[in-house]
Amino acid sequence: MIPTDSSAVQAFNIAKSVTNGQQPLTILSNLDLGVATGERVAIIGTSGSGKSTLLACLAGLDTPTQGDVSLLGKNLAGMDEDERAAWRAGRVGFVFQSFQLLAGANALDNVALPLELAGGTRRDARSRAAELLGQLGLADRAQHTPAQLSGGEQQRVALARAFATRPALLFADEPTGNLDGATGEQIIARLFDLNAANNTTLILVTHDEGLARRCDRCLRLTGGRLEAAS
């Protein structure tokens, strides 16, 4: 255990294995991690190294086969999926490689969704969503559905959604993976701006070592364990 009061995320001796047919496959093994509040941590690794699985375990989207994970001071062990979702609501934000916007909802409703799921009123949620879309230069795109937006615009809407609840912790999974270099650069700039403005802890999973170096700390996932990246 890494007992630090100021830790946003703590993982102690976690392991994750899955059974594929008859053969067990170990993805994470005896892994420890502590991320301090406000810290920006990048996790890099090759494809298939288990980056997404680690992120899922840290965010409480999945449960480790063994070990404990504490998220924003709450031990996730023993919590069911609903309790974990309720704990995340309003506290944790996500940015995904493939944006993951709701196809049927316009940009404004997509951004407002996490606020409403956290119990906010519709009026407040929409007002906050409009404010964020304005900050990201999308005020005139608020009523557009994802299909009417470019990839960069979709990821900006996803960024707005991630920060809508002013989360204490943000997980970003390959946020520029589906974007061209210039657009990806713009998105990262926005991400770091919002991160700084909201004093959000950031855990970023990427295979882009350049991007990783811009974080406070860079860890490499290899053989199911984390080590400091050189």
Partner: protein, 843 residues
């Protein structure tokens, strides 16, 4: 409250998106539409055509209801009929002897009021020799008589006839009257007089044996309640006759149509259930990413469950409304045709009669769609990060078992035919298991063939086979679903053919339209000669011994009020006993054994006897029970050794009680026969009666005409509802062929990227889809044949005809249809650039 609103909004958004894409969600709605449309159409058509048939059959009874009484209507009964909307006519009937010189004739006389009949018409020919239809009886002082009375007593219209102590003028020949269809076998020549003249004839004295009847016409809405109230006033031996029970031929044809329509609708619903299950699985799979996203963003299961349930509610409402409209339009169109051809105003169906449609949607959604969708609820949120995260599988079989039970209960309640509903559902459930085993075996065989023939197979054939064998699970589900759909369609094709063929034979141009009764044994030869000389094929003669029921299991009806009440009208009327060596084609043995299988009987044992199932039910007796008969003062006891179902729609002479040939040799018998007389050959019948004056000839041509009209109408309904079942089969086909459409598209795109030509891809797809078609069609053909035979023989009582040609064509069409649909599903992959298919596909 806000989470409900949020769930409602998410429901609307996600449903709109799902419906905007071609695929599973639209198929789900299509399946619901077909199920609702067929249930609405069948319920409403059966309802309305049934009401029209009753209205038409009412004309053959002379009224909506006929109450047969021992005494004139009581004040209590009269009090129930004071509503101005209700009309009544009281009649008195008796058997009397008419005499002219030394000629004597037994006749059936009815004294009727001026307003008679209440429904339908009397057909008479007056002194001007002009035939016309009238809606009143003879005026006081006049008598109308059947042609047999004129022929046998050598009278003519205009002459005077002595009736008891009165002299009445024969003002018309009575050619037809309502009720002729109901009592064809025990009708002495008819004589109609005015009710006011009865007392003067002296025939209705205190010792006279009189049959009283009260005809009642009442608005449709009041009929059932009135019938119940009147039934409560009846004494033992009295009964209420309605058009259906008075006209067994029409009622039986309608019953069969009802069974078939229910079967077709039930089949459409079952097929829809299969399609709903398949498409809900795919609809659910398409929702996984969204559900994972909801969870990731903090959405609780409760909210997500509401969204999924809301989707089903929306899709269900859509299916219900559209299906309802289509069903209503279909039945309205058909009802319009029926009304025009029936020449009667078709009663409006009651809207509540369509309640099963809403129930069907509820069961389909809750029972078949929800288990598929609820499984998706367990999608782990981590799937949003790595699409390949394994989603835990839930056991859905218990849920489907419950759904099947709910469907059975609903089908039983809606059709009122529990046996049929359970047989169909149970049969299909069993068939699904057998299909799964057979298809698994066939797939094993294919796998062996693939390995053995490896080098000799073309690359496209190998590709097709490999694709199929790699996806054994989905292929199995697909083949079983298709197999069930095909079985139902095959069964209905065959049974429908047999049903329609049976009906056509019944009303064929040369179906018997004359019954001749009162034939003496030694007249059979001369009558046969008389007819064959006039090009009428030699008819079959059936013996009749007239008897009265005297005892049930040794309880004499005369001494036992309970037994008398049990016997009801059967104790009042003469029963026609007969004997037969072999079982007629329109009789089906339901219990016991026919004579040859009974073996030798003890010399002192009662005579072996076969009774109709209706008599067994009426008297509450079964095998081994005994009935005592009084035959002109002599007694005869018979023991029930078999029970038969009689197909009255054959319109052939049939008997409730049959003995073995020698059993009635001590009793005097008369004979009955039936044959076809071409239109215009009425002179032949006049000659027959002239030569054999004791004969009674009954013309059932009018009844046959009515039956023919009815059958052509109901055939239309059968075809329409069968169309819905075919549509349901098509939806199953589309749903089944889209099961692993995404995987096949992805593989095709990969192959395309690797250099496979469109031609090669198409051939591989054909190879795979033809095999899937064969896997489904071959077991379905075998199962369909068995099921069609069982349904034809035991549910519809129609002759089953094995038609190998239809099976071969059916299998070929099914395989071609399945293959073409499957190949079409891949068509867009071949047309679009491979990179797009690959980029769009998700792992």
């Amino acid at each position: 409250m806000s989470t409900w609103l949020l769930a409602a909004r998410l429901t609307l958004q996600s449903t709109r998106v799902a419906l905007a894409r071609p695929g599973a969600t639209r198929l789900l709605v299509a399946a619901l539409i077909v199920a609702v449309a067929s249930v609405v159409a069948v319920t409403r058509i059966t309802d309305r055509v049934g009401a029209a048939v009753i209205a038409q059959a009412g004309q053959t009874l002379g009224a909506d209801l006929k109450i047969e009484l021992n005494d004139p209507p009581s004040p209590e009964q009269r009090a129930l009929l004071t509503d101005p909307a209700i009309t009544t006519a009281a009649t008195t009937s008796l058997t009397t002897a008419l005499a002219r010189g030394d000629r004597l004739l037994r006749a059936s006389l009815s004294a009727v009021p001026s307003r008679y009949p209440l429904s339908g018409t009397l057909t008479i020919t007056d002194v001007s020799d002009e035939q016309r239809e009238v809606t009143h009886g003879p005026a006081s002082g006049h008598v109308w008589v059947a042609s047999a009375v004129l022929a046998r007593l050598h009278l003519a219209v205009g002459d005077t006839l002595t009736v008891g102590q009165s002299q009445l003028q024969i003002s018309a020949r009575l050619d037809a009257e309502p009720g002729g269809g109901g009592r064809v076998f025990d009708t002495a020549p008819r004589v109609l007089i005015n009710a006011d003249d009865l007392a003067a004839t002296g025939l209705a004295g205190p010792t006279a044996r009189l049959d009283h009847a009260l005809l009642v016409n009442a608005p449709a809405g009041q009929r059932a309640e009135l019938r119940e109230q009147l039934a409560a006033t009846l004494a033992p031996g009295e009964s209420i006759v309605d058009p259906a029970s008075a006209n067994r031929g029409l009622a039986s044809a309608m019953d069969k149509a009802g069974v078939f329509l229910n079967l077709a609708a039930l089949s459409a619903v079952i097929l829809a259930a299969v399609a709903v299950t398949l498409s809900a699985l795919r609809h659910g799979a398409a929702q996984r990413e969204t559900i994972a996203l909801y969870k990731t963003l903090g959405g609780a299961r409760g909210v997500i469950r509401r969204v999924l349930a809301g989707q089903l509610l929306l899709l269900g409402s859509l299916g219900l409304v559209i299906g309802w409209l289509i069903g209503e339009l279909a039945q309205a169109g058909l009802a319009g045709i029926v009304a025009r051809l029936f020449e009667v105003a078709l009663p409006r169906g009651q809207l509540v009669a369509a309640w099963p449609a809403a129930g069907v949607v509820a069961v389909l959604l809750a029972g078949f769609a929800w288990p598929a969708l609820a499984g998706v609820l367990a999608t782990p949120p981590a799937r949003i990060l790595a699409g390949s995260v394994h989603t835990p599988r839930r056991r859905r079989w218990p849920a489907y078992g419950t759904a099947f039970a709910a469907l059975a209960i609903m089908a039983g309640a809606a059709t009122g035919d529990w046996r049929l509903a359970l047989w169909v559902l149970g049969g299909l459930g069993g068939a699904a298991l057998v299909f799964a085993a057979v298809v698994a075996l066939l797939l094993g065989g294919l796998s062996w063939a693939r390995r053995t023939l490896d080098g000799r197979l073309s690359p496209t054939m190998r590709l097709g086979l490999d694709g199929l064998l790699r996806r054994r699970g989905p292929t199995l589900i697909q083949s079983v679903a298709l197999g069930l759909g095909l079985t139902v369609v095959f069964v209905l094709v065959i049974v429908r053919g047999d049903l329609l063929a049976g009906w056509q034979a019944q009303v064929a141009d040369n179906a018997p339209n004359r019954f001749v009764i009162n034939i003496e044994a030694d007249q059979r030869g001369p009558i046969r000669d008389f007819l064959t000389r006039r090009d009428i094929p030699a008819p079959v003669f059936y013996p009749i011994v007239r008897a009265r029921l005297a005892a049930i299991n040794d309880a004499q009806l005369a001494d036992s009020p309970a037994a008398l009440e049990r016997a009801g009208r059967l104790a009042e009327r003469a029963i026609n006993l007969s004997w037969a060596g072999s079982l007629k084609a329109d009789n089906t043995l339901t219990e016991g054994a026919w004579w040859p299988e009974l073996g030798a009987r003890d010399a002192n044992a009662p005579a072996a006897m076969s009774i109709a199932d209706t008599v067994a039910r009426r008297l509450d007796i079964g095998l081994g029970d005994r009935l005592g008969f009084d035959i002109a003062g002599q007694s005869l006891t018979g023991e029930v050794t078999s029970i038969r179902h009689i197909d009255w729609s054959s319109l052939q002479p049939n008997f409730f009680v049959l003995f073995a040939p020698a059993a009635l040799s001590d009793f005097g018998a008369s004979w009955i026969t039936s044959f076809y007389v071409a239109p215009g050959a009425e002179a032949t019948m006049a000659g027959l009666v002239e030569r054999f004056p004791n004969l009674n000839v009954i013309d059932i041509g009018a009844l046959l005409d009515r039956l023919e009209r009815l059958i052509s109408r109901v055939s239309l309904a059968v075809e329409l509802v069968f169309g819905f079942t075919l549509a349901a089969g098509l939806v199953v086909l589309l749903a089944a062929m889209s099961i692993h459409r995404d995987a096949r598209r992805r593989e095709a795109a990969v192959l395309r990227a690797l250099g496979a030509t469109s031609h090669q891809l198409r051939r591989a797809a054909w190879a795979e889809c033809v095999i899937i078609g064969a896997l489904a069609a071959l077991p379905a053909a075998a199962a369909g044949q068995i099921a069609a035979r069982l349904i034809a023989e035991y549910a519809l009582h129609v002759d089953y005809h094995a038609r190998p040609g239809i099976w071969l064509i059916g299998v070929a069409v099914a395989v071609a249809g399945i293959a073409a649909t499957g190949v079409a599903a891949l068509g867009d992959v071949r047309r679009q650039p491979a990179w797009r298919a690959l980029r769009d596909s998700k792992t």
